[in-house]
Symmetry: C2
């Protein structure tokens, strides 16, 4: 008999991830909803937004100063009668007579006839007149309508995830609301008779249920709307009932536990007869995996060890979920290894927990330094969830590599 | 007379930013509140959290397999009577007799007496007995209590901003809640008779109020709790009333507009008599600035041009606010300039809007590429808010530089 048959027939990581991506890509076509511009921060724009107005809306002053005709200040110094003042918010539609000046504030309309602004610093004002020391040419310190954006021009493109600078532009053109994609909705079901809620006293053999809380946090942090987090015992009837509620409410369902080779594998036992593919992926942690479509809803079944669950999420779900939510790609870097990896299993791609080594500066803001290296933190065990808190990347050790010396270049995935 | 007296006496950017940082640093000592672990995502831990339990809590199996005494499998193949099964969640406290095996699931307790686990792949099971093909040494596939973290050990340190991996660890040790700092609370007051709300029809001389929405979005995106966004006309009594409400509710207040050299500078007119420092900072955009402490609350007064407001926020407020909220530093890189900067004002540090040039890959997940260069997008004008939507960095042109050729190294600040 083969001593490790599972790893011989196990699917490669990239191949399995492709299957998941194929299943989830249709979630790009989600319903569109209108939200107010202030509420649109972080949401993904569903359509191109074109400006309904010119910006600037009207010809206005770039400075606090005096609007004049350039011809009136061709020879300086010159003293001109002051005919009034235009504050920001004034209509400013009375034409300016030749050889006069009118005081204008930054952003105030420039009266018809005037074609340049003399900054307040270049002017002596006196009772009813101004003496201009330095002339200006036509157009100086004048903002023409539409020079920022014209009515009808593209302002923010479909698919953009809206950051503060987009919100600023959408607000500046006066849009009350914008069309955004509804977020991807996910449901989480954890399984296992041994799991109890936080704050309970543990009886022998029990552990705290962390996977539901951890998966919900990971989904939320990647733009997904978590519609439910439920826990099932190893009773198939209970799991089936929770699954039905989850597929009714969510675009994608995540389960943890019950997918391995034990006697009580509730997830596999319920989902395999529904067409689920259950088997080994050639990775560590996170080898046993399941993938099913139930009532048209993809169900990703991760193993129950806490680190296996989180690494499965990072490797299989996070890249496509960020893509669907319009968030920047997961950052994958190549860096030298600070410490050696003494052993890595032949035939399994290993994702070790690592910490970036980067020079720190106390200065604010500091010049950013690229990380210089990555060190392995915590062991390879799939139960070392506390150790994972000390990591900021996964170190991706290829399946065919069985050890790595310090200094070797490795790929790291940002957590 | 001096043609540009303001720029001669203007304060350097770094000097003014230091003044703001000194005023805001005391906000690091904010009240502490307890939140449930699921709600703690993104919050900043106020105290060190130590594990209340050992992880693993009890000695358990790393595999689906058979727990035995290593001495019983020193010579293989060997056939042992099967005395039962321990599922995850079982107490598993009955000692295992010598020369017997008991089936154990991953995570299940290992009975006293057993000291290793034979993976299911290495075993033939038969009616009431198991034949083991390959022996294992004491400790193999056994997870000892406390090998991940010991009760009393530091789990997550004070000051950490909690990400999904921290949430996972806090959930795994069964903590129902953790102490976090209350977020920094900010209030925003925009000013100006010319501003109207989104969705209104503009009368001549009016523009849409974008600064309130944009500042609120920028604050939210940097971990700050925006408690109010209000608008004041240029009436000092109205501004004074809104200011009083803002300082009563917030840790820091941001105003926009009313700080320049015009005739109707409501912010300066109200705050300068209260001890506010108003003057020019040697930068473009964002030159006119004001800083006041009202009832013990710092009030940062930014100029009203939309780009001036946003650049002021990025340069003066964002680095310290991220530091106070425990978020990663603003990223500042040095990159070559893709296109030339033909003119930059002598004596003023200029923050141009730029876009990173980086090779894009369609692959998911893709190897991250560092940006290769930065190109100037949009003009330098402080009214070009639509153009700012196309930028992803600010290009920081030093005060003494008046032009830059393509290829010159520049510092860029991530937006």
């Amino acid at each position: 008999m083969n001593s490790r048959p599972a790893s011989v027939s196990a699917r490669p990581v990239d191949d399995y991830r492709d299957s998941i991506e194929q299943l989830l890509r249709p979630l790009a076509a989600r319903p569109v909803e209108a939200v107010t511009v202030p509420d649109a921060l972080g949401r993904q724009l569903a359509d191109d937004v074109r400006s309904p107005v010119d910006l600037p809306v009207f010809r206005n002053s770039a400075m606090d100063g005096y609007a004049v005709r350039a011809a009136s200040v061709a020879v300086t110094p010159v003293t001109l009668p002051l005919v009034g003042v235009v504050a920001a918010g004034n209509a400013g539609q009375t034409p300016l007579p030749p050889a006069t000046a009118i005081k204008v504030m930054t952003g105030a309309p420039i009266p018809p006839g005037a074609d340049c602004v003399i900054p307040v610093e270049d002017v002596h004002s006196d009772d009813g007149s101004v003496t201009i020391e330095r002339g200006r040419g036509a157009g100086e310190f004048v903002r023409e309508p539409g020079t920022d954006v014209r009515a009808g021009d593209l302002l923010v493109g479909a698919g953009t995830t809206l950051t503060p600078r987009h919100i600023a532009a959408l607000a500046a053109v006066g849009l009350p609301s914008v069309p955004v994609f509804r977020a991807v909705r996910a449901a989480v079901i954890t399984t296992g008779d041994e799991l109890v809620d936080a704050g309970s006293t543990l009886r022998p053999g029990q552990i705290y249920n962390s996977n539901g809380i951890a998966l919900a946090a990971a989904l939320t942090a990647n733009g997904v709307d978590v519609v439910s987090v439920a826990h099932s015992t190893d009773d198939p009837a209970q799991f089936r009932k929770l699954l039905s509620a989850a597929t009714g409410a969510a675009d994608v369902v995540f389960t943890s536990g019950g997918v391995s080779k034990g006697d009580f594998e509730v997830v596999k036992d319920v989902l395999a007869p529904l067409g689920g593919q259950f088997g080994s992926v050639a990775m560590q942690p996170g080898g046993p995996q399941g993938l099913t479509v139930v009532e048209g809803v993809p169900v990703l079944s991760f193993p129950g060890n806490p680190v296996s669950t989180m690494v499965s999420f990072e490797v299989f779900a996070r890249p496509i979920l960020r893509h669907l939510s319009g968030l920047p790609d997961v950052e994958i870097y190549e860096l030298p290894l600070h410490n050696e990896v003494a052993r890595s299993p032949q035939g399994k791609r290993q994702f070790l927990r690592g910490r970036l080594i980067r020079p720190k500066s106390g200065e604010l803001p500091a010049l950013h330094r690229y990380p210089e290296a990555v060190e392995v933190v915590s062991g390879p065990g799939s139960h070392l969830i506390a150790g994972m808190a000390w990591a900021d990347v996964l170190i991706d050790v290829p399946a065919e590599i069985t050890s790595l010396p310090a200094g070797a270049a490795v790929r790291v995935w940002s957590l």
